[in-house]
Subunit: 366 residues, 4 copies
């Protein structure tokens, strides 16, 4: 095959403008593609206002594409004669990346009992019931988890439920109960918002705004969270790739809120022995690419009470910046709790064993 | 092993009340579980206000649970001595089920050019660009698709994008362009709503309200769609099971809107040769369980232009009640179109071949 | 950032030697990587006997790697300071690729009733029971499928079963029954081999040697099949990517047997409404990259009798080069048949509808 | 709906015979199924030589099926009028189950330096290169890993490779090098067999026979391993469910070899930030159902060197009975090692941190 001029300036310029990035593509040509076919591909690219960078080789030619700031119509290019495929090269996230900020972001959540931090040497602990049911329930659980040293209380007032006939949460009444928990026990509050209306209320009553897995790509909600003045905990979607997970955080940062905590809570796979497959390898993967803290929810991550303790230990051991655990108090009236909640005395053990493992890594629970 | 009284009334009573269903569970005991352990499990179940139905056997005992209207805390039960596991038996959906309505629901969408129906002998066709960009673009495409006999036009005014830096759609201006398409060409309009605010506008301007895959479990949005007075097309979430897919529709029906069209658009798997894995087997599976019509989106379902035509043919062949296809007009300015859009002349061929295959099944495109 | 000499010869030379390919890698550096870090990466690459091709850009540098003929230790490189990640660029397959052979391979299977071809305009049909049970069973089914015009009979004499306590097949006795089917009805025989011993026997008795999904990466068996003198039908593994699927065929071709038919039979995903998720998009994907024919097994692909007919129609509509269908004769003694077998009269309908759809694509069943 | 006689004897009798189990099914009828349809289903079941157990309810009837020792043709039953679906209830495994043996199996591997045990309080450690390349390489690595206290050496002489053009291992020459490692350093040997021929040699030279993930359902090989007189380490297949994983072990036990160690090595999912998704929740899941020990391979489980250390810590923390780690010695000639191998000094740290975490669980590495 005749060679085109051998010269390349495949530029990784996507970091130039802080917000709007170029993406870089490679077009791989067939080994028997003609010079004319390569030229046609280059012309098509240039006609789109982009730059084409032919990369000839002994056996085949590749063509780099730069200059595009949105999506490239790879379909149009893949359909051209002589083309094998298009390969995206650059990553889409900016603000969440360590390219932009090398050192860890430490998210500090103030509580009456003192600040709880995520992302530094301390490991944050959040515990509480799946759903806020009654003041008595919350107080009973709050008392027990506070006794371990835990200072962040979780509990849902708005519950995204698969069935419209299931309990949907107490709404603002639930938020008021949570506020009472803060007043009475000094615990900070982490609770979920499910739409713009509930987010405004959660922002008012709580200390950390949770975005659930099912809303990880509810971009309207993410933007609203990006304009909130409280830290946001974003759960990984059920089948979110690492890139999509980071892009969800990017949405929030791009609106000005830099206080974001990521949360692995299990992904959906073929495996049927747990409700979800907890993907602990995403912890070091996120920590490598992003400066944001990442915590683990072993309760939703497994969906099975008897797996919460071992997977909590594993989460701390793998290097997570926190854990988020469902605890309920009264097994005799456990109907409204998920099958993954543990009992207060199981939580005592969980806290103790997690502390001991954290110490191996020279970290402490907070 | 000593036997407990052999008698069972494992009742499948979950259809009794039209809206609020009982779920039925089976607790499987270990083969060497003691009589006492079985009794303890039964007592625990009864103490929760439920009914326990011991089902003894030569090798082991199972215990049926009835009477529960919410979730059972299977965690509490699975943790008891002698228990192997809990197995859910009943299905959660009601209104979407053929148990409630045996005959097919036919959703009829009125357009200036006449009614387009989904769910009967006719197969509905929807075509148009990924995003509404300009009036000229929409008019050009509308003209071409109308020429084939297609009477429903799709195009996004609100675009859920993975990146906050990508084009997010023209918003209400886009909806106005779509309304002009209806006025000028007589085509009905299918377009997506992404939150409560946009849904109100889409309901005003469009003929079918689309709920995207990423919002399939945005329950707040589903409930709002259930109060709308236009048909709703719900796309299957990226990793939604058949049950979850039907439950999303159940949310809409439970609010009073029975005009729901389901849409398979590919699911997320390990496979990397297409953007999503189009799951055509879900078509006969849905048709077996539900009376609602189901259509296929081969454009998002594959993410590759060169696979849209073959998978459209396959969708019609498998028995889908409609297809939803992305078509763009001008390859020279295709940047904002997804890599899965096909050209108008490719759509001509798609329509013709799909028609011929529909005829084999004694159906016609409409 | 200071630039290194801007010049690249990222060569796609992996097609140079017909068998042993170079693979091409890209190392992406962090945007704030120092010139020294880039140099260290290049030196490491060169010290491995490879060539490094720094590709500087305004925001970051990438480094192309060529010259390697095996696996590159990307772990060693990814661990170096300043490195973000490694991206493989080239594809590993050679002989199965259209790069090596542009026109379709047509596999011709001779039978007493005439040749059946796969990969040309004709669509091959293979039908028969899951397992060979008795002579009577096989004769009864053979008679029925022959009546439709089908000339290839399938039936397992060696059955890979999940449980050691399930029926494992009749072994050589089963092969002899199959040989009688050929003698009496003139049908060609397709049957599975599960190890080197059974492969020798299958090669002797049958017309097409089947390699099952669970053995798609049993490389010892693939090599043995590559030395056989009969066509080989290779089923896609339960979680095989397109690349791995093609590499399994590559193993067979690399030993000298070019008569290979690929078979999609469903992959494993989270979806639970079918036993496997039939991935019909792999048909056009394979046909784009490889010259080998590809057929579809809708019986294993869905695992449900009531889905075999619609998915067979879809397989023909998508462009498959053949279908492989399980048919059993006697529902009253169906215990040993899989739940996915259809009845002879259902097969009649399947054959008729598939023929009609093939005609739309100007193809005929054979 | 009229009720059938309310009486059930849904017997979980599948444990009666030690080897050949009955499976139990439930047929769920439609809520509007007629009495006649239920009767027809029962008659069909009885005509198959099975027992039918109608379970009437207020809203619908279910029918239990017992007495079957193989597979039930659920397809035939699901196709009958009035039937919604079939649900399997019983589990297929016997010998690997805690039902058969309550206490943990402790697999003891003798080495010149003393016994290494898996399944008791001690946690077994296995380390070494991906592939045996040279005597020098193996000796250098053996020396380093022995220094930590590790007494089991791993290294592949037969390598299952995706590409036929990749290094396939040294074969028996490799096994001889491994035997020299045992002689010189006193380390026990763990190495893979890929077919019946290599298994006989591995059984001769090594101390533990490894069955790789790609062969987890190579039943011919599993049976041969069941007749071997050395312990067998079985890796979980890339998309194996918990049931299939246990059934692979069941194959080995059913042939008489009870010395089986299970190994989690990552499963295939949509996630693309690691080569496989390490499923640590399978450890407590296996330990709940089976008496067999289970270890973790974090090297293949992640495919990335920088994730081996954190995931090894997590494996010990979750309660694994051992870890299997790839270590290579010479980064300057690392080409033939996988990208997941760690360096000896990284292994020193891994051993030390894993020991410290084991101590939290009152266990010790051995």
């Amino acid at each position: 095959m005749a060679l085109l001029p051998v010269q390349l300036a495949l530029r990784y310029t996507f970091g130039l403008a802080p917000y709007i990035g170029e993406s870089v593509m490679l077009i791989v040509m067939q080994s028997h593609a003609t010079e004319e076919q390569v030229r046609a591909v280059c012309e098509r690219i240039e006609s789109l206002g982009l730059r084409a960078h032919p990369i000839p080789g002994a056996a085949r030619t590749a063509v780099g594409i730069t200059g595009n700031k949105g999506e490239v119509d790879t379909g149009a290019l893949e359909s051209m004669p002589g083309v094998v495929e298009c390969i995206p090269v650059s990553k889409p996230y900016k603000l969440v990346s360590r390219d932009v900020k090398e050192e860890n972001t430490i998210v500090r959540v103030p509580t009456p009992l003192g600040e709880v931090s995520f992302g530094g040497e301390k490991i944050g602990v959040v515990a509480g019931p799946c759903a806020v049911e009654t003041r008595e329930q919350c107080f009973a659980i709050a008392e027990r988890i506070k006794a371990t040293g835990t200072r962040l209380f979780r509990g849902g007032a708005y519950k995204p439920r698969t069935s419209p006939y299931s309990f949907q949460g107490l709404g603002e009444d639930g938020l008021k109960i949570l506020a009472e928990v803060r007043d009475r026990f000094g615990l900070g509050i982490v609770t979920e918002a499910i739409d713009n209306e509930s987010l405004a209320l959660v922002e008012h009553y709580a200390d950390v705004i949770q975005i659930g897995a099912r809303n990880m790509q509810n971009f309207s909600l993410l933007k609203r969270a990006g304009r909130a003045h409280k830290p946001v905990l974003v759960k990984r979607g059920m089948s979110a790739t690492l890139d999509e997970f980071l892009m969800a955080a990017e949405y929030i940062l791009s609106e000005g809120n830099y206080e974001v905590i990521l949360c692995e809570r299990g992904v959906r796979t073929f495996a049927d022995h747990t409700r979800n497959t907890l993907d602990l390898s995403v912890i070091p993967a996120v920590q490598r690419l992003s400066h944001l803290p990442i915590v683990v929810d072993p309760s939703h991550g497994t969906g099975r009470r008897n797996k919460v303790l071992p997977l909590s230990r594993a989460a701390v051991a793998v290097g997570a910046d926190g854990i988020l655990v469902e605890v309920h108090n009264d097994p005799a009236h456990a109907l409204s709790d998920g099958p993954q909640s543990i009992l207060p005395n199981e939580f005592d053990q969980l806290f103790a064993e997690s502390s001991a493992i954290a110490a191996v890594l020279h970290r402490t629970l907070n």
